[in-house]
Subunit: 117 residues, 2 copies
């Protein structure tokens, strides 16, 4: 099965989790195709100057894989610079936020899956 | 938790599944961090002229999300052109292969997760 990028559902989230700017979320795989593994499989684009505010995850974990740009991840309270190729996991019970500190969009592959039973 | 791209395990697979060239697989998340959801969370790079031969998946499914280049996916026997932004799922019991038909590396985010019980 192949689905075209232009048919993928896009969410435009303004001030997401209290952050700055408008975050673009392109859902490349829907929940049904994920066969119960999780609720989000998406490309997230944070514009220059944009951010996703700090929030936590409970009963699920989220991962980011950076594919474009650079920024800061607030990883359980600690600010860490990230670049293309870096990976981040916010485990269940942890918190995170993301800030685009660069001069181009910060682009990440994001997965939210259920925490281990 | 943050892991740096340069520390991620890289596999270089020559003639993968009977295909052409050397395929580079960068594992951004290991099986433990995936908390039982699957066995592969990786960036796959197929060089110009390279390919992954046709093979099937049983008891698991694999998805590709194209983030660079262009090519052909042999989707259960049918050749389909793919470009950046397109998504492919090879369900359990199905087969697929990939050919880079472009002039730059074909780059994909690949996930292999267990099929629904």
């Amino acid at each position: 099965m192949i689905t075209r990028g232009e048919t993928h559902h896009v969410d435009l989230n303004k001030n997401m989790r209290g952050g700055e700017g408008t975050i673009k979320i392109t859902h490349f795989m829907n929940k049904e195709d994920a066969e119960g593994h999780g609720r989000l499989f998406a490309k997230i684009e944070i514009p220059v100057g944009g951010s996703i505010g700090v929030h936590d995850h409970q009963g699920e974990f989220e991962t980011f894989y950076i594919i474009g740009g650079e920024g800061i991840i607030v990883d359980n309270g600690e600010e860490v610079k990230v670049n293309v190729g870096d990976f981040h996991k916010c485990a269940s019970g942890s918190s995170h936020g993301v800030i685009n500190t660069g001069s181009e969009p910060l682009v990440m592959i994001a997965l939210i899956m259920s925490a281990q039973a």
